[in-house]
């Protein structure tokens, strides 16, 4: 199968959906003529023209508000917010408008849109351009929240997000843009709300998302090779809807749970899943469920410091080993 980058998968995913449906339109800052600051939208302007691929001012509220108004009235907009940290300047749409309009109107108002954004650390950009904000979105009722870890998932989940009738927050990891993966030819459409067992195992369940997935897989390989511990690694992929069936089934088999999160410690998706498992599968657990997270601090800029704070394969190995051998 041909290999493409995660970045090119974004382009291909958007192009696939725009080619299929004229109602799909795309807007954001520097996304059109310039092809995006991460070069993840190069060529779309040329392919779909200035009416469907549009540069905007630095007006994040206008971007998301316009996307919503268009979605309510018949289009299927994809809006880019350049860095997920900037959700904070347009959070009203994410927290109060998109997710509540259908409910408040007793089902009258629709909101089929996708917000794409560059999420996560690793680029030495410092505290205001490196955050993992998936929990900012997961905590809001009425959204759907997706974070792919591989090129093929980027295309499939993006297609599913665009075709979904609800507002979907689509978190692309900045440190994955340059990574490669195999992608089949032809149309790819995945399903929201499905986790993926990326490495089966019997001794412990490790849940991970986005950039943490390859690290969890690496840790699992080392745990097996070096310590004989056989971990099941699950790529959560979709925080809302959440595939609790796959997660609970895995814990029922392995009896141990570890979550690997990039977002800071408090109130992350790890806490949510640990709480679900502790409540619903308490008697399946042979030991404490453990969260591996970034510490609850702002992110430092310096490479040497940034590399210390994000969960690493090393830290996953150590945490799982110590927990299982204690």
């Amino acid at each position: 199968m041909p290999e493409i980058t995660y970045r090119d998968a974004v382009i291909r995913g958007i192009a696939q959906e725009m080619a299929r449906d004229n109602d799909v339109v795309f807007l954001g800052e520097d996304v059109a003529k310039a092809g995006g600051v991460f070069k993840a939208t190069v060529g779309l302007y040329e392919q779909f023209g200035p009416l469907r691929v549009r540069d905007t001012p630095i007006s994040e509220q206008a971007i998301l508000g316009a996307a919503m108004g268009a979605a309510m009235t018949g289009l299927k907009p994809i809006a880019e917010i350049m860095f997920s940290d900037f959700f904070a300047v347009c959070f009203d749409y994410i927290a109060n408008e998109f997710p509540k309009s259908r409910y408040m109107s007793n089902g009258q108002t629709k909101c089929p849109l996708v917000v794409r954004t560059g999420n996560g650390a690793g680029s030495r950009f410092g505290a205001q351009h490196s955050q993992s904000v998936e929990n900012w979105c997961m905590m809001i009722p009425g959204l759907k929240v997706v974070a792919p870890s591989s090129p093929v998932d980027v295309i499939g989940l993006l297609a599913a997000a665009v075709r979904d009738p609800d507002p979907v927050i689509f978190l692309e990891h900045k440190s994955l843009y340059a990574t490669k993966g195999e992608v089949p030819d032809g149309e790819i459409v995945d399903r929201l709300g499905t986790a993926k067992i990326v490495r089966p195992g019997r001794d412990a369940t490790i849940l991970a998302l986005a950039l943490m997935v390859p690290r969890a897989v690496e840790a699992a390989e080392r745990l097996k090779a070096e310590h004989g511990i056989d971990c099941e690694v699950i790529d959560v992929r979709s925080l809302v809807p959440l595939d609790t069936q796959t997660i609970l089934a895995s814990v029922a088999k392995t009896h141990r749970l570890f979550t690997v999160e990039e977002n800071p410690r408090l109130c992350g998706w790890g806490a949510e899943i640990v709480s679900i498992v502790a409540d619903e599968a308490f008697y399946d657990l042979d030991g404490p469920p453990v969260r591996i997270t970034t510490p609850h601090i702002p992110l430092p800029a310096a490479d040497i410091l940034e590399d210390m704070v994000l969960p690493t394969a090393e830290r996953i190995v150590e945490t799982v080993r110590r927990s299982l051998q204690s």
């Binding site: 905007t56 509220q61 206008a62 508000g65 108004g69 268009a70 309510m72 109107s105």
Partner: protein, 343 residues
């Protein structure tokens, strides 16, 4: 407040006859319907039958009726929490509005949204928004859809003077201007942001109009208590929008007779202010206008009676209506009709 000069700038003096009797009767009925329904909402609040908060448009009816009368089917209204008037003006039934305020199952959204979120998409009422400024960008988006599809409908976005000081106002105006969107922004300047005089918190005398230049737009200030003036202004803005000439920003001078929200006695008003504005009550102005144009007292009385009948009937129906049932609590969070965030 409108200077003599501002008034002179308003399109149409209200005396020539480009509007015609049918429209005028409709605008009279529309304004009266709002007046009576809002007054009833207030009475029902005093009886503890309207719950939650509510923000009445008593005194501001001419803006709602004038704009609604100029709108065509397909044109879209975006309102604030002070949205009963605009909802009624698009011909949503009094029953559905009062039902929502009374949080009954017959309400427009069966009690799920409440007074601040009236929505009736079938009437073009695309929601009432309770976070100041939020709907201005949303109205841009709806206008973008019309532009993209080549449709001729216009998005009309109503908001208050206080709303001109929040960031979303600025972003939306610039965005609409550069994309030449068919959207009309209507600032109902009623002199107050809640309890604070707008002049105390705004760097320019006319909070909307004095900012039009920032977006390359014309400075438009009108008498918002004269439905004819409002109607003509709306028509002009809509024509521009439909012709692809882009957005308009209109500042309509008006005044609310009631407090900001249901519990506000409005003690912050300077003495005599309310009385002065009541002399320019839009209903009074318009009843006189009809008389000037030779409409008989009998015709007026018939309208008055039929409006009162509708409001009375709606009140009784709502009082008898059941409360919303428990099973709607978790419906319509997602498009599949449910709320499942997990499998």
């Amino acid at each position: 407040m409108a200077t003599a000069q501002d008034r002179a700038q308003a399109p149409g003096s209200g005396l020539n006859d480009d509007i015609g009797e049918a429209k005028r009767l409709a605008m009279y009925r529309s304004q009266l319907r709002i007046r009576e329904a809002e007054q009833r909402a207030y009475d029902l609040f005093l009886q503890n039958l309207v719950k939650g908060t509510s923000h009445l448009s008593l005194g501001q009816e001419a803006v709602a009726s004038g704009f609604a009368e100029a709108m065509q089917k397909g044109d879209l209204s975006f309102c604030t929490y002070r949205g009963h008037a605009h909802t009624l003006a698009r011909c949503v039934s009094v029953e559905k509005v009062l039902g929502e305020l009374m949080q009954r199952d017959n309400g427009l959204m069966r009690g799920k949204g409440g007074s601040m979120h009236l929505t009736s998409e079938e009437h073009g009422v695309m929601g009432s928004y309770a976070i100041i400024g939020a709907h201005l960008p949303i109205a841009c988006g709806a206008a973008w859809r019309a532009q993209y599809k080549g449709d001729k409908d216009v998005s009309v976005c109503f908001f208050g003077d206080g709303t001109t000081n929040i960031g979303a106002f600025h972003e939306a105006l610039n965005f609409a201007a550069i994309w030449k969107l068919p959207v009309v922004f209507v600032c109902e300047n009623n002199l107050y942001m809640e309890y604070t005089p707008i002049g105390d918190v705004t760097a320019v005398p006319h909070p909307a109009a004095d900012r039009a230049g920032s977006y390359g737009l014309e400075r438009i200030i009108i008498d918002g208590n004269d439905a004819d003036v409002v109607y003509r202004t709306a028509q002009r803005a809509f024509s521009r929008a439909r012709a692809g000439e882009g957005p308009s920003l209109i500042e309509a001078l008006t005044y609310r007779h009631s407090g900001h929200s249901r519990a506000d006695p409005a003690k912050y008003r300077p003495e005599g202010e309310l009385e002065k504005w009541k002399q320019r009550d839009p209903i009074k102005i318009y009843r006189e206008r009809l008389q000037q144009f030779g409409v008989s007292d009998k015709v007026i009385a018939e309208i008055d009676a039929s409006v009162r009948q509708e409001v009375d009937d709606a009140t009784e129906t709502c009082k008898a209506a059941p409360m919303p049932p428990a099973d709607i609590l978790t419906t319509d969070v997602y498009a599949d009709g449910g709320w499942a965030w997990r499998n």
